[in-house]
């Protein structure tokens, strides 16, 4: 009887193990298939250098993604520049000023909600704040919506990283008579520098592929534009427009753009991980 029970238990265990291996294989296979089609379709598009030098073409003709790449760089850069100081100081407030208080808990909870908030909702919000009142779409509104998405990511990592700074360091600086802002900027920030950098890089990675919040803030632009008050092209929105079109040239450019974005996001993530790993050792 015992032997029968052992057999049943072993059999059940084997079934679960096999299922577990199978779904892992399936999951990895599908994800590999996605990367594979990205490489196959993307490399041929990226290998034409005109991708980086020519503007997005009208339907049915050749061209590149230069204006979209530029627009993505501008809006991602500006969004990061806005979100970084705000996010780091907000995270500082939670750790260095009000650690463990009700207000800190509230801000932290709301911030965690914002991290997982649908990005399209952010787009709607910025639309009603910055597009509707001015009557036109603008790259600035796009950058602000990206900043709003980057902000909670930076707040969260800043908070986590500052919490790791040993209190002894702060106390030593206070004992030397340093004012609080000086302790924070020269001791806490310096000790947590690599962690803070990791957070910012992850935020850049997150916003560089965001499409939904740009659809009705920055909109799109077929031409090169330096003007922050005008609509501006971006890689994700261009990919969306081109992929949904029936034109083969546009679709090929969409794959090229998708390849570029994925590549950039993966590089940023790997870089952030490398920095985080080095700071830990």
């Amino acid at each position: 009887m015992d032997a029968a029970l052992v057999r049943t238990r072993k059999r059940r265990n084997r079934v679960v193990a096999v299922l577990s291996y199978a779904v892992t294989a399936l999951g990895l296979l599908i994800l590999a298939a996605i990367l594979w089609s990205l490489v196959i379709n993307g490399v041929s598009a990226v290998s034409h250098l005109t991708l980086f030098t020519e503007m997005t073409p009208p339907p049915g003709s050749k061209g590149g993604l230069a204006n979209a790449i530029f627009g993505s760089l501008v809006m991602t850069g500006l969004g990061t520049l806005i979100a970084t100081p705000v996010g780091i100081l907000a995270g500082t407030f939670l750790v260095e000023y009000r650690r463990g208080t009700a207000i800190a808990e509230l801000v932290q909870f709301v911030n965690d909600m914002l991290v997982s908030a649908p990005s399209i909702i952010v787009g709607l919000f910025v639309y009603t704040m910055l597009v509707l009142p001015f009557g036109h779409f603008s790259a600035f509104a796009g950058a602000i919506s990206l900043a709003i998405i980057a902000l909670p990511v930076i707040v969260r990592t800043t908070q986590d990283m500052l919490l790791l700074v040993p209190n002894g360091l702060r106390e030593a600086a206070f004992a030397l008579g340093a004012p609080k802002w000086k302790v924070i900027t020269t001791v806490s920030y310096r000790a947590a520098f690599q962690g803070l950098l990791t957070g910012v890089l992850l935020a850049v990675a997150r916003i560089s592929g965001e499409t939904a919040p740009l659809l009705f803030t920055a909109l799109n632009n077929q031409f090169w534009s330096n003007d922050l008050t005008k609509p501006m092209a971006s890689l994700p929105v261009t990919i969306y427009q081109f992929a949904m079109s029936p034109y083969a040239d546009w679709r090929s450019l969409a794959w090229g753009g998708a390849f570029l974005i994925t590549f950039a996001v993966l590089i940023l993530n790997i870089g952030a991980r490398a920095i985080a790993a080095r700071s830990r050792s």
Partner: protein
Amino acid sequence: MTSTVSVLPQQRATRLAGLGDAIFGGLAWGFAITVLVLLTGVVVSLVWGSLPALRTFGFDFLVTTSWNPVTEKFGALPAIYGTLMTSTIAMVIAIPVSFGISIFLTELCPPMLKRPIGTAIELLAAVPSIIFGIWGLFVLSPIMQTVIQPALIATIGQVPIIGLLFQGAPYGIGILTAGIILSIMVLPYMVSITRDVFETVPAQVRESAYGLGATTWEVVRRVILPYSRVGVIGAFMLSLGRALGETMAVTFVVGNAARISSSILQPGTTISAALANEFAEAGDELHLASLLGLGLILFLLTFAVIGTARLLLLRLNQQFGGH
């Protein structure tokens, strides 16, 4: 004795330090409050923006199915149905798969492979959703149309009652395809949280069970799951929140038809897809307000789910002090 009123250098330094502290502390406070203001701003702007639609249609907005910009009749039901249906399909597929992968990663995986596979999954969680969308449109949809959907129609489609879900022509795109793409997209995210939650189980507890002769499945079933139940539910709900609000992965493949069909093979729409498609072109006030109303519904839906998930995970953290 000098009768000067000038301050000593130390005093000046103290005063400067006070000023520095006031400025720095004030900025930090202000930016932390910004986080709260942002969330409040989102709620206020959505409610305010959707007022004209809510006033015109009232409760009917939630329960009518017509979405017609020409006749200015707007009902949110098809979009709500699509959002809920695609997310449900995504969860039905992703929960067992991510559960299996998490068991594999924490209990079965050879130590050598643990890190590479774990890292690969975390990297994939960072891939932008538009990539999943474009893959769904160009690679998955043709496969759905030529292989999977005809097979479904020929088999389950013939069964009474359940078969109603799998009828009609194989379009390739549609509710089911959108649900599958969503499940693929949330999978890495779900696995990385579930695995983290599994790993909060102390090694001693797990090893004691193994020491008593328990099989892997028994350890998972009787030790890990009871210990991490709250966290696992939290992880699933966070992923659900993500699936509900996901835009780009869905918009490409859902078909963008504002109607409710009994069959999940047919095209439909979701709240986010409707917003992505129509918002920039919405001309008149009522259309815009109705779209903002959709946004408000999406906001309430996702925040209820994410809020519950965060509270569960918060409780877990307080209980075990882990992350």
